[in-house]
Symmetry: C2
Subunit: 209 residues, 2 copies
DNA sequence: GATTTTCCATAGTGATCGATACGAAACCTG
DNA sequence: CAGGTTTCGTATCGATCACTATGGAAAATC
């Protein structure tokens, strides 16, 4: 997604921007936006402040790029689950089970960056908190869209409130993120997801693919 | 719970410590521990720094006292629901519905302080994050205890995994806290809670009080 | 009323925050 | 090689952080 060709010559970079962004992402993921200081970023990224600012403008831009990278590299399970050619219950099952795994990966911080990044923030960082909320709302909206499609196809009862059930599922995912941060294992999160799936209305089985 | 009698005389306080603590609690609730600066506390509490430090030792102690106060004044619904002489499903219903209301009170920050206070933290504030996790775990343990009692009485099937289901319910509550912070209304949270209750195993009805 | 004790208000502590000025070094184009 | 451009490393910048030293004011104790 980035410019493959910079405009012109000059002294070349002495570091890999993607690797540096990756290190920053993990640090933000672990400690959140505001609690991650430039000194910590400097050490984790292996860069000097001018290198960071030259490549990423400022801390806020760096965080936003980390969010994009997180979305592209760590959260693929969500789009996969919701767009897979399977029944709606199966899609939801994949969504929650995918979250269970993504939130407890070895070598990664527990939970979801979109939740841990900045649930509460200082007035100065309100824009960051809003950005994260936008990501969470987008997830909920994507779920709602998949549910609406499922209801139209007959996977779900006509009486189901799509927005309400999407809010439930998004809430469960957010709750799983916190449980993961509190030390829950993959299996525990899978069991939680399985329990949550029991709330799915079971009527209106589909008769086609 | 505080000393009703201070050891000896001297100049009396010119402010109400409880009112000041209340203001601090709401600020921590809104912005979290680390993002709440002393300048903000100073303004919200209407006090000078020496007044704050004389009365509350330091920022960390102030936050811990705010946690205790929050637990005593804002979260009573949980203990009430879990200790009420009602069936286990009814107790769980009251727990989730109480959370829906407590997380969306007018004039109060959205969500739960135990979640918003410090989901992610800097290394220096790790102790605070751990303290909050302890509160969340205590909630989960209290739920598990109530479920175990319900299973023993016959309110729940023998096959139910008490710890797993408690983790589900605690996760739903945490998720509701985030949904509240994202702007969900009381009614939306009530609907979410109602959906979550559908995961309750329905067999094994109790035949006594 | 003198002493003691506590609190008040002003001002400022060192440390850390995010972000930069500066000049030398390294690449591309001529 | 010269000219232009970008990044490099070093050494900070002012602002804000949590916190406190100091000295006088106010109330209880003697």
């Amino acid at each position: 997604m980035e410019n493959p060709e910079k405009p012109r010559g000059g002294r070349p970079r002495a570091f890999d921007p993607d690797a540096a962004l990756d290190a920053a992402m993990h640090l933000f993921w672990e400690h959140g936006y505001e609690a991650t200081s430039l000194a910590m970023l400097r050490e984790a990224m292996g860069l000097t402040p001018p290198q960071i600012y030259n490549a990423f403008t400022d801390k806020e831009t760096l965080f936003r790029k980390a969010l994009t990278r997180y979305h592209e590299t760590e959260i693929g399970f969500a789009l996969e689950a919701l767009s897979a050619p399977v029944s709606t219950p199966e899609a939801i099952r994949r969504l929650l089970m995918g979250a269970a795994e993504a939130y407890t990966r070895l070598g990664k911080p527990g939970g979801c960056l979109f939740v841990s990044g900045a649930l509460a923030a200082s007035p100065q960082a309100q824009a960051i908190a809003d950005e994260l909320r936008t990501y969470r709302k987008a997830n909920e909206a994507a779920i709602a869209q998949r549910l609406a499609k499922g209801r139209a196809v007959g996977d779900l009862p006509e009486t189901l409130c799509v927005e309400g059930f999407a809010k439930y599922l998004a809430g469960v995912m957010n709750g799983m993120s916190i449980q993961a941060r509190d030390g829950a294992s993959v299996d525990e999160l899978r069991a939680l997801a399985q329990t949550a799936l029991a709330a799915l209305p079971a009527e209106g089985q589909n008769q086609g693919a």
